[in-house]
Symmetry: C2
Subunit: 357 residues, 2 copies
DNA sequence: CAACAGCGAAAAATCGATTTATCGATTATG
DNA sequence: CATAATCGATAAATCGATTTTTCGCTGTTG
């Protein structure tokens, strides 16, 4: 029986109409909640729908609509906790409003980013949440503007003159990290980062540098940055420490601006047999579940994923509903968790090299 | 200019037709690659397409098709590295074949799983890759079967009589873990797991138990399992160790059957001040990037994500292309990395309680 | 009592493509 | 030379809904 049902084709609105003894237009109206239908007929329609197991065909239904109840999301990748949570949040929020989220990953490629956008445009998505690979000035944002798409930019963006933006307040968080490290006595810090072109990297770096120099003008800040790939960073970091191994002028703390940088730093510490925080302190931008359970627990800046997602969806739907006005740039505050990987320098002698102070 | 283009409505096939001075049918044929079109006309069509920036409307195009070039993917969650990688792989493989992947997360709920499937059915997806919350016998698989959908089940499944399945060879991996632990001298192991009902949990547990008992009949295997949520497991684990704290008969190694269990175990070790592998050894099912950079590095079973994804897509497309025959259950071998978190028991005295041997 | 307003529902147009049937012109064949 | 076959292209039907227009009927009103 159920098998037969499976074989026979899906019921259309006309099947429902003839079953109920009315026209297709009437069925459509009943299902749309129009009140100018005789209650008796409405009931017959509902019964027929029930009997035939009818479901509206979204393809046909959306055909005449300018916009479908679909939100597109484009993330640089799916593998990290941050973007995974982001997609999850966005999906939930979109569905709360009766929309379906369609997510795609740009795989850190701006070309793909644009292709995906074109596809979503073809699909007539009502709006797009775009987490660009680099920043708000890429070709993807240009495509969206040129095609009159509705969208919000999140994460690696600051402010844009065409779209609303929502991101973590990287500068403020970095300032807090700077305060913490300086107050612990650190006067030589290495800042490590990936994605040189990302809008937020500069904000994080500047935020750290500005506050650190304010509080301790004599502080020395080294910077190792490289573009998107993790391999080169590993090499750069190794070279950086190799050069300073003998001189003994190596930093007492490392601040990584991205999760992968934190992993690379930890891996380099391991290789050299350094322990946190005795041999060196470590703070990373981006938190992860595991950072609380390792020994030492890793200090980290926690990005407000839920808040970013909630705000992005909020502002996106306002635009979808037709709100005008200049785009707004929103910054959500981060939390900084100074865990065990941060300590005072020199409290325990470094395991290798001489120490200056 | 570009702005004007943005405002005016999207070009339809009729616009292209009149621009090229032919009928819409001819345009359709040119774009579909039909050869019975005069080369001259074909060129005019292509020129018009170029001029108007025409793109086929997928909604209208798919309307008459029974199946769209879309693959659905349903994962229990998006937050973990495993499923994040899985979605990423599936997306890439689907696009290689000219299909679009639409991913959704069931949030560990079988009800949602079925709703999403219904939605995907409405969307006329060509096939579905379903990673069920529990196992292959849930309502989702039933829905797929009842509606004649094409699909593959992955991850938390063993074998099914209606659908092909692809998963990691949990039993073999667990056997290897058992061999490693026994050969290191462990004779009292705690196995920790989440998701009691997942098909793979039983396989992992049985695989471990069978091999461990074969190699060391006197081995003692304790088991702490609980359903999907991580909170209860934390409590269970705390109680488990509290009871054994004084008696001194606590296990020398913990084998966690899921990533979250590994985190909970580590967290409990931290709380008690136990270090791996001196105080206790730890192996977890599911690898993560961070496990290589912590100190100690955490031993883990690495699931072959790429292989599972590749096989799932492979077998799915075979079915989409009409292959008949009974469903096949495929097991992909795991790799086991015995990292520093595993050592021999008693090589260093436990930090607390008495030791028996 | 004719004209008209109001109501509910059916008929028809529409969305934008694909596919089938049809048609006219040219070429081949008896 | 008349008819058939072939070719290229157009007209029309189709997919399954929504939306607009039309229509028939009832009840009101001048």
């Amino acid at each position: 029986m159920a098998q037969q049902e499976a074989q026979q084709r899906r019921a259309s609105i006309h099947d429902v109409a003839s079953q109920a003894g009315v026209s297709a237009a009437t069925v459509s109206k009943v299902l749309a909640g129009v009140t100018t239908v005789k209650p008796e007929n409405a009931q017959r329609v509902l019964d027929a729908v029930e009997l035939l197991g009818y479901r509206v065909d979204p393809l046909a239904s959306d055909m005449r609509r300018a916009k479908r109840r679909i939100i597109g999301a484009i993330m640089p990748e799916f593998e990290s906790e941050f973007f995974g949570q982001m997609v999850s949040e966005l999906e939930g929020l979109a569905e709360q409003r009766g929309y379906t989220l369609v997510a795609a990953s740009s795989r850190e490629s701006e070309a793909r980013e644009k292709e995906i956008l074109a596809r979503m445009h073809d699909w007539r998505v009502a709006g797009v949440v775009l987490a660009p690979v680099r920043n708000e000035h890429g070709p993807a944002a240009g495509f969206m503007k040129a095609n009159g798409m509705t969208g919000v930019l999140i994460d690696r963006v600051l402010a844009d003159d065409a779209f609303d933006t929502v991101s973590a307040d990287s500068a403020a968080a970095s300032a807090e990290v700077a305060r913490a490290l300086v107050s612990q006595g650190h006067r030589h810090v290495l800042v490590v980062g990936l994605g040189q072109q990302a809008a937020t990297v500069r904000a994080r770096l500047d935020g750290f540098r500005k506050t650190a120099l304010e509080l301790a003008p004599d502080i020395r800040i080294d910077v190792v940055l490289c573009e998107s790939d993790v391999g080169p960073l590993r090499t750069l970091l190794r070279d950086y420490f190799s050069k300073r191994e003998d001189g003994g002028d190596r930093p007492t703390a490392v601040y990584s601006l991205f999760l992968k940088g934190t992993l690379v730093a930890l891996s380099e510490f391991r290789r050299r047999g350094w322990h946190c925080p005795n041999d060196i302190s470590l703070v990373g931008f981006d938190d992860a579940e595991w950072m609380q359970v390792t020994w030492p627990a890793i200090a980290a800046v926690v990005q407000p994923v839920r808040e970013i997602a909630a705000n992005a969806i909020e502002v996106l739907f306002r635009r979808i509903e037709g709100e005008r006005g200049p785009p707004r740039a929103r910054l959500e505050p981060c939390k900084v968790f100074m865990r065990e990987s941060v300590g005072s320098p020199g409290s325990v002698p470094h395991s290798g090299g001489g120490d200056r102070q």
